[in-house]
Structures are given as structure tokens and as C-alpha cells.
């Protein structure tokens, strides 16, 4: 298993944001993480990437316990994350932003820049290289977030809602990009609210609700899981929907 978490718990004072969450991400897969707002998805990502030290539990990378490693060490191992709230280097242009990422595997400036250009082209930022990060559109910033992470040449890419805030045509444009990244051998673990994308891309989906992992399986199966429907729509929703379906039949 490429990545697994074992009973991760993350408490902030009295609030338990993640409660004994376990999951496994298979190498070469596109795995999804969904759940209602405030479920703890971003928190779990932060724990996986080393930005938060969990209150309990372990993060395993290819079977090895990496819970004690710093974020930059995990990036060096090949774990790259994007931020739900985009974190561009505001004062730098697009190419410079991406080059910070590509320097991780290419210490020489020329090579790092060449790599950054290639990545920019790949995610559709080829024409905005000279533009300041702060002047990009929402879609541009999301692409930049993706490009920088990709420039570190990760083995595992953690995408936190890279489609949020994009319009349907922008989403249609970027879905093939994500699939192509996986086809190049990068495992993808993505948090996503856009169900169309989850259905389209993911082979395996985990569902987090109030910090707890309540379901896992194929996108189709978790969508029909009563526990999942109730987590999103409230208690009793699953039976109501089932009754509705029965009435139509």
C-alpha cells in the first residue's frame, strides 16, 4: 500500500476534527475523499502531509511510519499537497512560483526552469508564465496550485478541492489533465465536492463525516450507502429517499 493512515485522531482543544480515521491509498489509483463541510477532510490531509501532528494514530508511507517527519521531508519522499485556500507566492510570477517546486528535484537553475515550463504547459498555464500570481483568476490560481505540486515530481498528489470555484467548462477542461497525471504514474488522492468529477475520476472513495470514516467503496456504491446519504442530508433521509423511489416504481 502506498499510503495508509491508522486510526488518526486530531483534536483542537475540545473539538475532535478527525476521529480514528483509517484509510488506504493504492499505488496508481485515483482515490477520493468526500464528506460534508467541516467533516475534517482538510485536517486529515494536513496530518498526512505533516503540517499537523496528530493527537493519535500513524501515517504509513509504503509501510514505513512517517508520523514524525516534517512536511519538507515528506515532500522529499514524494508526497505533494495543494491547499484548499490557495497559497501562491504572491509577489512572484507563475513561472517563478512553479520553479520553487521544480527545484526540489533539479538543483540547477536552468533545469528547474525548463521543468517548470513543461509543467506549466501541461496544466494549461503556458501562456501566463510572466503573469503575477496575485493577478490570476480563481481558475488560474487553482491550476498554479496544481502545477507547483506537480513540479516536485511527486509519487502521491494530495489535491484539496482543486475544482472548487471553477465553472462547468473549466471543470471539464481540467478533468483530463488530472487523469493524464495519474496515467503518468502519479497516485492521486483528492478531496472533492464536485460529484461529477468524483464519479468520473475516482476508483475508490472514502467518506468522512464529523471526523469519522463512515464508508468506503466505489463512487456508485458509496452514493447509495444510507449512512452517506444521511451524513449529507440529515437523519432519516435515506429511508425518505427509498420510500420516494418505491412510490415511483
Amino acid at each position: 500500500m502506498m499510503l495508509s493512515t491508522q486510526t488518526i485522531t486530531m483534536r483542537f482543544g475540545g473539538l475532535t476534527a478527525v476521529d480514528q480515521a483509517s484509510l488506504r491509498v493504492r499505488e496508481g489509483s485515483i482515490t477520493g475523499l468526500i464528506g460534508p463541510n467541516g467533516a475534517g477532510k482538510t485536517t486529515l490531509f494536513a496530518v498526512i502531509a505533516g503540517f499537523l501532528q496528530p493527537t493519535g494514530g500513524q501515517v504509513l508511507w509504503q509501510g514505513r511510519d512517517i508520523t514524525g517527519l516534517k512536511p519538507h521531508q515528506r515532500a522529499q519522499l514524494g508526497i505533494a499537497r495543494t491547499f484548499q485556500i490557495v497559497q501562491p507566492f504572491q509577489g512572484l510570477n507563475v513561472l517563478e512560483n512553479i520553479t520553487i517546486g521544480s527545484y526540489l528535484r533539479h538543483p540547477k537553475t536552468d533545469e528547474a526552469i525548463a521543468k517548470a515550463r513543461a509543467v506549466a504547459e501541461r496544466v494549461g498555464l503556458g501562456r501566463e508564465l510572466e503573469q503575477q500570481a496575485s493577478s490570476l483568476t480563481v481558475a488560474g490560481r487553482k491550476r498554479l496550485e496544481l502545477a507547483r505540486a506537480l513540479a516536485t515530481e511527486p509519487k502521491l498528489l494530495l489535491l484539496d478541492e482543486v475544482l472548487a470555484g471553477l465553472n462547468p467548462s473549466e471543470i471539464r477542461d481540467i478533468i483530463p489533465v488530472i487523469r493524464a497525471i495519474r496515467d503518468d504514474g502519479v497516485t492521486i488522492f483528492m478531496i472533492e465536492h464536485v460529484m461529477q468529477a468524483v464519479m468520473n475520476l475516482c476508483e475508490e472513495v472514502y467518506v468522512l463525516a464529523q471526523g469519522q470514516m463512515i464508508a468506503e467503496g466505489t463512487p456508485a456504491s458509496v452514493c447509495n450507502d444510507p449512512a452517506v446519504i444521511e451524513a449529507y442530508l440529515g437523519k432519516g433521509a435515506a429511508t425518505r429517499i427509498a420510500n420516494l423511489g418505491g412510490a415511483h416504481a
Partner: protein, 322 residues
Amino acid sequence: MRINGYIPIILVTAALAVVPLVSSSNTLFNFMVMSLIITLAAQGWNILGGVAGQTSFGHALFFGVGCYTAAMLQFHFGVNAWVAFFLALLAGAAAGFILGFLSFRAGLRGSYFALITLAFAELMRILANASEWTGGAAGLLLKLDPGLANMQFESRASFLWLALAFVFVGLVISRAIAGSRFGAHLVAVRENEDAARALGVDVLSVKLKAISLSGAMTAAAGVLYVQNFLYIDANIGFGVWISVEALLAPLVGGRGLVLGPLIGTFTLHGLGELTKSFAGRIPGIDLMVFAVVLIGVVAFASGGVLGLLRRFAPRLARRIAV
């Protein structure tokens, strides 16, 4: 891009180097030597405060460590001036590392870090003022013994060239960093620490390297000061004046830019001297000029002189790679 980046540095240095050949004004030489010493101190500040974004209010700490290491080694132990110089560089780097280790590891940033640097500089000033080793309030006076081996010169021009050579090395180092991975990491840390971390940057290590290098450079300026005046006391070495100079010059010239400290220092002190020559010797008139320039920069030109150049002559700015 490789060589081009160094051309403006070579041109500026050459222009300053010919001054002693076309003029023999002692006032001009003194002005230039002092400005070059401040430039070097400011170059040190710029690496940490400008490029890496860790604003320091206390670079007097490093300047003073440079001054006193050089002065005390020569005064007490008769160490050769050049050896003392290299040891002073090490002492400056060590002071930077220790200060960085204490503050960055504790996660101090922004104004908290700035205040800590100020506190350390003041602490050292008080200690240097009280200790016998440092000559106390009376300071230390070094023996006049001109000669290249002693890093002392009979002719003002020679000392000017020495100071210029130091500044040139500082410019080359700054330029090399600007085009390197380390430089990119410094900028990344300045712009967004979390994003830098996510991309594999060891933020603490980058900051420690920056502050050590910064400390060594500013300490080198301290050594130049001692070799020029052959005298040091606590209010000079660890005085607030040099903390202010080291910070002001890059802000005025162009924060984080290779030529920023040099252009800032010469702009500020040039204006200061001009005003003095017009307004006569009104005490503190040059400080008033500094204040006006600073307000101007803060209000209208946050990128400093080079920022203005970028705005109004982008082609030229690009060509001189600022």
C-alpha cells in the same frame, strides 16, 4: 542571463573605482569610504531582511561583533589584521546562527523577530560598555601601523579600493544567490512559509543559513570600520545608528534586490551631504533628509529607487537585472 546579471555590478564597481583617479578630495573619499562600509552592512541586512523577508532591527549586533572581534584580537593578542578579519566573519556567522536558532526555532516572525534582534543588539551594547575586555566606555584604540599586511593604508584611495573590493564581493555573492536554488528558497520563505514547506523547502534551515551569511557580511563591515578609524566603542559598534542604516538603505534602494543596498546608501548619504552643503552645518539636517526620504519611499515608492526604475523604465530595469 548567466553573465548578464553580473555586468551592472562590474560597471557600478568600476565607476566607483575611478573616483580616486579623477578627484583627490578628502571629503569625497571619506564620504565614499563611510558609504561603502554602510553598503556592506546593508548588503548583509538585505539577504536576511530583504530577500528572505525576516526584518531585523538589530543588525548592530553583527556589526559590533565584527568590530570587537577584529579590535580585541589585535589589541589583546596581537593577531594579524587579516586573520582577525576572517575570525570576525566566523564570529558574525556564529552570532547569526545562535540568534536564528533561538528565535526561528521558537517560531518568532515579523515584529517579534525584529524586536528580539533589537534586544540582543542592546544587550551587547550594554555588555560592551561595561566590560574591561572591550575597553568599557572608553573603547579600544588600535595602533597606527600602515601596510597591506595590517589592513591599514596611508592613502585614503587605497582604503577606498579595499572597501569597494569588499562591497564588490558582497554584490557578487548576492547576485549568485539571486540566480540559485538557495535564493529561490529565501524568496519562497519570504512569500509564504507554508507553501514553501509543502514544496520541500526546509524553512528553518534556509532561515539559519540566511541569518548566518547575513551576520558574516555585516560583521565584515564592522571590521572595515575598525580598520578605517582604528577605534571602536560600544555606541558605535552596537549602536542603534548602524541598525537603522543597514535597514534603511535596502528599503530606499530596493528591498531584496542585489543593487538595492548600494543605491540606497548612496542616495541617502548623497542627499544628506548635498543638503549639508546647501543648508550649512545644521545639526541633524541629514537625519531629517533620511526621514523625508523614508516617508517618501513608504508612501509613494514601496519598491525603492529600483522599484521606480522598474515602473518608469522597465526595459532598462530588466537589462540591469534588478
